[in-house]
Structure formats: structure tokens, C-alpha cells
Symmetry: C2
Subunit: 400 residues, 2 copies
Amino acid sequence: MSIFLSLKSVQEAKEAIYSIAKAAEKETVALKNLNGRILAEDIISNENIPGFTRSTVDGYAVVSKDTVGAGESVPAMLDYTGRVEMGTLSDISIKTGQCAYVPTGGNVPNGADAVAMIEYCEQIEDDVLVYRPLATGENVVFADEDFAEGKKIIPAKTILRPQECGVLAALGIVEAEVFKKPLIGIISTGNELVEISKKPPFGKVRDVNTTLCSSFVENEGCIPKVYGIIPDEKNELYTAIKKAADECDAVLISGGSSKDARDNTSMIIESLGELLIHGISISPGKPTIIGTVGNKPVIGLPGHPSSAFVILSFLVSELLCAMQGIRKEYRTTIAQLTENIPSAEGREDYVRVVFKDGYAKPLYSKSGLLSTLADSKGIVKIPAGQEGLEAGEEVEVIFW
Amino acid sequence: MSIFLSLKSVQEAKEAIYSIAKAAEKETVALKNLNGRILAEDIISNENIPGFTRSTVDGYAVVSKDTVGAGESVPAMLDYTGRVEMGTLSDISIKTGQCAYVPTGGNVPNGADAVAMIEYCEQIEDDVLVYRPLATGENVVFADEDFAEGKKIIPAKTILRPQECGVLAALGIVEAEVFKKPLIGIISTGNELVEISKKPPFGKVRDVNTTLCSSFVENEGCIPKVYGIIPDEKNELYTAIKKAADECDAVLISGGSSKDARDNTSMIIESLGELLIHGISISPGKPTIIGTVGNKPVIGLPGHPSSAFVILSFLVSELLCAMQGIRKEYRTTIAQLTENIPSAEGREDYVRVVFKDGYAKPLYSKSGLLSTLADSKGIVKIPAGQEGLEAGEEVEVIFW
């Protein structure tokens, strides 16, 4: 093989990723385990919520037009007819000139169309003085106003937050169909690697990528399956990749970091399945491999953890999201650069930054350092068409 | 009790919260379970990493001064002395005028101080032509350059991301001391509540807050313990609050939504422990209660889920973080408001928004609607001293 990789653009790499990502199967999960899962079906309301006209305040249910012109000096005076108890069906009915006490969340009686907050009322025996005018519907939620029967409430492919789980509870939906968590095989390869519990002999280093990939995959809603350190030897690596692709929904192979080791990985993928991409115009992360084995996506990550992490964050994350039916969304903020960042044109560059009080400071260091991975709190992308970013520029910082 | 609460500022509420939050105990957790946990000890490097001089590229290890003046037309010509194998201790030693091949991650032999990338070299039998000049240390990581022995690598109170887990792996740290996940008791009270699996009879609604609080608490790194729906009846509520405070590290009681129910909760807290705050100048969320029972924090949340969620997000989150030894950090972005947001001066207002392409649109609706909880993707705070925000203003949007 040539020493020069035939580099593809990040756009081409993403297209390759989307072409090989298959959406996971679906499963039904109980509400209490739905937090963080990705909905595979639209949620439709089967009923009107709240289902009855409900007060949002403690106060007096009134006919709003009785309060026209009411003020501090000229309150509306209404007849008190009784009190609605919480959670019960009240037989009170309100006519013009009348009112009834309703607690927050209680049923607004028939005939009333607004509730005057208790703070703006005064009850003197059977008379209630209302010191403010009320609009129709004020402090009231109508029977179908929150969720109307038959309406789509949460669309499929929503990542369920506590908020959505609360809405499901309100609708009485005790389980929902979500995408299964993809099982992701994780292989570390390289003759220089030792188990993390060992003290590496001279010339060797601990296997960082198994831990890095497993934690990352978990954060993206998947389940890691660790295959450990596989020596950079054709037969062993061939067997491991075949087994992982058989058992998992996708496979991540990190390292070997040298050209020879990378060529090994790419040749094995080619012999077992299809090699789509070997080399991307991205920095760090150039020697990334994208392929399939048995129609399962297989990604070859650079051996160096900080390069691997850029590929995890910006390509593998897109794969894992696509396998769960969604598009990756990055959380970003805007910050002002404290220094110039030069970049090679034609290459998408990712520069680690620390940021505080609206300023982002690039973490310059040798690209081979792992320490900046933990030191950095975000990353700035320099698009392929740009020669760099200037100090003072406002840039988008991607949280990572 | 008066119909008017004696309102405290959000600042006073936070001070109360910090005064009652006790940091959780510590526990030792294995590396593979550390992702997302909060470190309770400083991580110090016990060794130099990488521990040997390491190449970050595939290429030829050289004495950098031999390449001074090298260029496309006048390459430096060096004697090839051999090849360093990956992961092994090489006995090659480089003198001026010599070079050796080193794979990425391999040991840079003694005497060499830089590595020329293979792409800029040409080997002709035992001669290597180097077409670019190299600086001292170029493409090399020195033995203690990534992590030096004795140096603090990750400070206590860091939330461990995949990046930090990777660094722990590199250092051979297979377990670490973290804060225990606090156990949070969750009580829903109110006579209007029914279990979520039931169809509510007229005038009743399903218990949304148990689900909302449980999921929220999980997202903040805690373990929810659900006590279910407790009727708004003094003895039952008293028994439930006492039991939950006995068994858990903190208790969240949501509802009842009416004044009477709130008064019940506050009186019980007062009789069992200490009532610090009843009523906060915040909207929504005014009738919030802060107290302690048996020195455990007890928070009374508003009954309405969307009000409760604001208090969870901006007060309870601070409590739960403080109980895990950290300060809550909010992720925010900047967006331009599409509409005016009026606000009452003297009150901290939280307005739900949707945002896209740098614009934030307030979700105006009745405050009593639950639907906007799921519809909104962020929230905008209007400080107590401000009368509102204007359309076109750039505002900070807090992701939620």
C-alpha cells in the first residue's frame, strides 16, 4: 500500500456513515425506564387533558363579564354559593352575579368562565368583593386545552427527557415503543498495548481506548461490549473483528496507531466485507476507516486517544444516533477566541479549547498529548474551506 | 395562616438550600462504572506518562540539527540504521548523520530528538533523504510530557466524562473515590391525584410529579425512591414525610397545589423539623417550601408539574449538586428573542422557549399548561430587577 492515504472529505465520510447505519429494532419499555430513551412511535393523546375545566389558582370562580370595570375602589360584588372540594365533582352551578370558591387544580363549576385570585378578593359573609376585572378563560384551563384527544403530543424520534416522561404520565401512557439500545463491539489493537491494571514495560502503554470508547458509547445511549486488546496480528485480528461483527450491531476498532497496523485493519475489513473509506481530511483523526462486515458498520479509529475521541465525537456519534433513528444534535455556545488558530485549507480542523465568561482559549500542545483531552471542555471546528480563525472572532464552541 | 405568603428572594432560597445541603458520603467505584460520577479525591499521577520518548507519527527518528536547511531541492541525507519495532525496547542509538524508522507510538531511539514524517522522506537502500527541516522535539512526546509523576491530573469534584475515564485508564487507576449517589425520597400529595395507570374520574388528574421528579433526580446523578401518592390528610402526610426523611438523604414533596394543601405540608415540616422558607419571588414556582426534617433537606414543590419543573431545574438541581460536592453548572447558549417578554419587577421569571438558528421564541400560554413543558427546549431567566426583555435582544437560553 502507498504511504499516502486517499483522503475523503468529512462530508463524504458522513455520507458513508449514513449509508451503512441501519435503525435499531424497537422494544416496549415501561415508563419508569423511558428517561433518556428514543421514542420509536408517535404519542397520540387518547383523551382530553385535564378532562374538566380546571382552576390554576386559589380563588373565586365567576362569570367574567360580572367583573367588567371592577377595580380597587369599585369592586364587583358577587353572591357566594359555596366551595368546590379538591378532586370531586361539584354540583355547584354559577349564574351571573354568583361565585364559588375553587382551590388550585379544582373543577371550575358550570357557568363560570374565569377564576379571580384570592389575593384580589375579599369575602364578607356571603358576599365576595372582586377588585380586578377578569378576561374570559383567565386562570382556567379548559377540558381539552392541555392535550386534545387524537392530537399528536410527542413525535417519534424524540429523546425522552423528564419533561416528556411527565407528559406520558399525564396521558396515562405507562409504556412506549423505543429503539433498542445498539450493542457496540469495542476492540483495541496494537502490540504496544497492555491492560490498564498493569505497569507497562518500556515502550508500551496502557489501553486507553477501550475505556474511552465504552464510556462514550454509553453516553450515546448504546451498550458497549468489550473484546479487549487484540494483538496486531492478521489472524487474531481477523477472528476478533468477525466475531464482534457477528455478535454486535456495530464495531469500533481503535489503533493500531502505526500505518502498518492500520493497513492490517483495513485489509481485514476489505476481506470480510466492504471498505468504504480509509483516510479523511480531518485533523486530528486522518487515518479513520469506515466499512462494513456482514452489513454491520465497522469503524477503524486512530490509535491515539485524543484523535480517536474527535472521531468518536463527530463521526461515530452520528452513526450511533442514526442507528437509534435520530440525527446527532450538538450543544454549542458562542465564545470569543483569545488567540489565532491557524489551519490547513482543505482539511476540517478540530481544536480543543477551555472557555470561561464568553472567551475560548485554544489548548495548544502537541497533538499526541492525552492530557488536553481532560483539560478541554469544548472544541472549535475550523471548516475545510477556511485558513484559520482570528483572535477576537466569535466562534461556535461545541461542548464535549 | 394568611393568604399572602411571606416571599423570599431566589438568592435567599439558594442560601437556604446551601445551608442545609450536606455532601454525600464517599465510595470507591471501579473504573468501568465511573463515567458520569463525581470525583471525591484529587487524582495524582504515580508515574511519568508515556514513560518513554514516543513518536507521534510514522517516520524517521533523526538528530534535528542534521535537517537544518533541508528542502525539496536540497534534502538532508542520513544513514539508515534500522527499524524500531512497536512496543519493544530498541537497542538502536542515533548519532549525527544517522536515522532509524519508528512507527507511530514507537520508542524514539536514544540520540534522536525529532521524527521526520514518512511523507516527507525517501529511502533509497541505506540512505534516507529528508525533505523538510525539523525542530527539536517535533513529532515526539517526551517521557513525562503527557503526565509527570506527582502532578495533580484531575481535581476532586470533577464530573467524570469519557475523557477523564480515558485519562484514568492511561494512569493505570482502576478505581477511584466518588461521592455516593444521594437517595431522594419522592412524595406526591393531593386528593385530586390518581395513579398514572388509572383513568381519572371527573375532577381528578394523574400523578405527573412522581415521574417528573424521579426522572429529573436520575439525571442529576441521584437515586429516586418513590413513596407514591399520599392523600392530603395530616396524619398520613406526617407519617410519609417522617418515613421518607428517615430513609433518604433528602425528600421532595410535590403539591398539593392548593393553598390549604401547601399549608398542610409546611405545618408538618415545621412540626417535624425546621421550616426555612415558604414562598419565593419566582414565577412559576412561588409556593415552594424549603425546610429540614431530621437534618435532611425537605423541599415542597408546587403541585403543578410545569411550576414544579422550574423549581427542580433551578433550586433542587443546586441542592442535589451540593449534596454531591459540586456547584450546578447550567449549559446555555445565546439567542435573539423574537418577541417581548414582560415581567413583574421584583420577581425572577422563567419563560419557556423554543429556539432555532439563533432565535428564541417564548412559548406563551397559560401557565397551567403541561404541554409547554415538553414543547419547550430551553428557558430564559428574567432577573428580579428587570421589567422584561425586548424583542431583538440577545438573551441567554438555558438548555433544559
